[in-house]
């Protein structure tokens, strides 16, 4: 009798242990709830890929340079591959939202720069000002853009860029 009541007590404790274990499994598989973005916020994403201008123009090889090279490697023109860094500035309502200078990737600094930046902003109407400089050989910004946008709750505003159309709001 005593043995069977001990066994019964054990089963109760086992059931309790399983219940606690499963409660932990269930709770942390869905809770606590995480708020990724507030209801009065939207997301601005600046994402594009762009290659800066070449650092130097192609030029003719000098006679001395040609003489120093083996005959099969002599080229009349020298074209350096290095590209300019990209300077990007994004202002929202006159405040800097994003400002960054990115050097070109690659062994010869000749790759395209990938920009991806996101920022949470308050919903409502905003004035965006975008500036991009992609050449060290010229003064000032190569591209600029101004646009006003009304952002709704949880909206994602994607700002893209390409040489043909400049900054594009999506």
């Amino acid at each position: 009798m005593a043995k069977s009541s001990t066994k019964f007590g054990q089963y109760i404790l086992q059931a309790l242990s399983y219940a606690v274990f499963m409660a932990v499994v269930w709770y942390f598989s869905v809770a606590p709830v995480y708020r990724h973005i507030d209801a009065d916020q939207a997301l601005v994403v600046i994402a594009f890929k762009h290659a800066g201008q070449l650092l130097e123009e192609c030029r003719e090889s000098t006679a001395e340079e040609l003489a120093n090279l083996p005959a099969n490697m002599r080229k009349p023109m020298v074209c350096p591959r290095e590209r300019s860094p990209i300077l990007l500035e994004v202002l929202m309502d006159g405040e800097v939202l994003f400002s960054q200078t990115e050097n070109p990737p690659g062994l010869y600094n000749d790759g395209s720069v990938s920009i991806y930046h996101s920022a949470r902003v308050p919903v409502g109407k905003h004035q965006f000002e975008l500036k991009l400089k992609d050449s060290v050989r010229s003064e000032g910004y190569s591209f600029t853009h101004n646009e006003e946008r009304l952002l709704e709750s949880a909206e994602i505003l994607v700002i893209n860029f390409n040489t043909e159309h400049g900054f594009v709001f999506k």
Binding site: Q10, L13, Q14, L16, S17, Y18, A19, F21, M22, V24, V25, W26, F28, S29, V30, A31, P32, V33, Y34, R35, H36, I37, D38, A39, Q41, A42, L43, V45, A47, F48, K49, P105, G106, G111, S112, S114, I115, Y116, A154, E155, I156, V158, K170
Partner: protein, 507 residues
């Protein structure tokens, strides 16, 4: 014996499960339970794969169909798949904590620890890709977060995160994730698991039946009560606002809202590196490895069978003796537990051919002849009636705390180090009773020492306690470092038994 607070806390937790589960304490089967959860994940995963459609629209809708239309099979399978995955994380983390708190990760056992840490790195991404496949708002959130994390690794050019902007994603993405989740990651995990258990013998990948049935019923009940459901379908034009994160797998993603991806990497890699180097913080002083004496070894292979760490191999005889085999100890794998000495039938204290007892395999730091001497000295030191000699181990209850007029304890490296013939020897030389202790039952520090010894005493394993030894004078009692009550009760039980035997003998 001083027990550090961490170990004491863990042992207290174990006591609760010993009370409720008796011989099926889940904390003694965390590794096999994890394997069991993986079996559930595998079987349910195969079923879920059949109706799953790997495309942007198809993925979400096929999972919704499983969850709501065929809730009674596919829905339950989905819930089992998720909850077993979560349970596996709990058992893995407990397994990790247990080995650490019980100091079972240092010394020669570093290998299992170090190969175990990367398993976490494989299981968590496996769970993450599983969440991607649902392609709901949670999937969108972790896909974007994962892309940001990958973008922070300097070996990748370009931005992966741009793939998750509106209109960018294609069905090829699901092909990649399906391949990773269904084949690539599981295969890598299986190989890693094989490496993890390579340096241990008698590997078991199934928990005791009762525990497996209980765990499965619990998971099934949870799946029926709280079925796993999806968030709204992913919409790359809207930011997911509130998320029911699975914190077992997705706990690092919220950090990305506060830290840069580089800082998140620094934290996770830093924790990983710290965990990997734990076995050497500080390094353990290893005991000298077992030594084989071919003059006394007949190549019976019992030590090879009993070694918990695969440190002993068998090879053809090299000394020209008539025996077919000899054993070789690999010092790099030997933890110095001494279980091989308990398995050696030449470790017999009754042998009188020589003054110094030399078995086929012995521990240089605590040879069998020393154990024999300590046995005689302990018996000599006891006075009064019902003299009880206790053989314990360095990882269980401290033997010196038992010393009274008629009780003496000898601490072995492991209870499995005790040759069964030593029990008969002690009884023949003046001990009235022998109590064999060691770690808690099923919780041997050296995996099998306590189990092998028990089996040897009841003649279920060689070398066994001889039939002519009166078994009634011997009992076994597992006892952890804090189990004073258990060992004192065992001593009382044995004394009562001895009194009854004495009364019976006196008519």
């Amino acid at each position: 014996m001083r027990v550090n607070p961490l170990r004491r806390a863990y042992i207290a937790g174990e006591s609760w499960f010993n009370l409720s589960f008796a011989g099926l304490n889940p904390l003694y089967h965390l590794g096999t339970l994890t394997f069991f959860f993986f079996w559930i994940i595998l079987i349910t995963g195969i079923y879920l794969f059949l109706p799953f459609k790997g495309s942007i629209d198809g993925a979400y809708h096929s999972v919704e169909w499983m969850t709501h239309k065929q809730w009674y099979v596919a829905g339950v399978m989905r819930s089992l798949h998720r909850y077993a995955s979560d349970a596996a994380i709990i058992t893995m983390l407990l397994h990790l904590f247990r080995e650490f708190s019980q100091d079972r990760h240092r010394g020669t056992r570093w290998y299992s620890w170090v190969t175990g840490i990367p398993l976490l790195w494989m299981v968590v991404p496996l769970g993450i890709t599983g969440y991607w496949l649902v392609w709901d708002q949670l999937a969108q959130y972790i896909a974007t977060g994962s892309a940001q994390l990958l973008d922070a690794i300097p070996i990748f050019f370009g931005s992966m995160a741009t793939n998750f902007l509106p209109g960018q994603i294609s069905d090829r993405f699901f092909t990649l994730i399906e391949f990773l989740h269904l084949l690539g990651q599981p295969l890598v995990l299986v190989f890693a698991l094989w490496f993890h258990v390579r340096r241990i013998s008698n590997v078991n990948i199934m928990p005791p039946r009762g525990l497996a049935i209980g765990s499965f019923i619990a998971l099934l009940a949870l799946s029926l009560l709280k079925p796993a459901i999806s968030h709204e379908q992913a919409d790359l034009g809207i930011v997911p606002q509130t998320l029911n994160l699975d914190w077992f797998y997705l706990n690092i993603y919220p950090l990305l809202d506060y830290w840069t991806a580089g800082e998140v990497w620094l934290l996770t890699v830093g924790i990983t590196v710290l965990l990997i180097f734990l076995p050497w913080l500080p390094p353990k002083r290893s005991k000298a490895a077992a030594v084989v004496d071919l003059d006394n070894c007949d190549g019976c292979k019992q030590c090879f069978e009993d070694c918990p760490y695969d440190a002993i191999t068998v090879q053809a005889r090299t000394d020209g003796k008539k025996h077919k085999h000899e054993v070789v100890v690999d010092p790099a794998l030997c933890t110095g537990c001494g279980i091989c000495v308990g398995a050696c039938h030449s470790a017999n204290p009754f042998r009188r051919a020589e003054k110094q007892l030399s078995p086929g395999i012995d521990m240089p730091g605590f040879p069998v002849h020393e154990l024999r001497s300590q046995t005689l000295a302990a018996i000599e030191a006891m006075k009064g009636e019902h003299k009880i000699l206790v053989y314990g181990c360095d990882h269980g209850y401290a033997m010196r705390q038992l010393h009274t007029d008629n009780t003496r304890g000898i601490s072995l490296y492991c209870s499995g180090m005790l040759p069964p013939t030593m029990i008969g020897y002690a009884l023949k030389n003046g001990a009235d009773g022998v109590l064999v202790s060691g770690c808690r039952t099923n919780d041997c520090y050296n995996r099998f020492g306590e189990r092998w010894t028990e089996m040897r005493i009841v003649s279920e394993r060689e070398p066994h306690l001889r039939a002519r030894v009166d078994h009634r004078h011997t009992i076994s009692q597992g006892a952890g470092p804090t189990d004073r009550r258990e060992i004192e009760q065992a001593l009382i039980r044995l004394r009562e038994k001895l009194v009854k035997l004495e009364q019976k003998a006196n008519g």
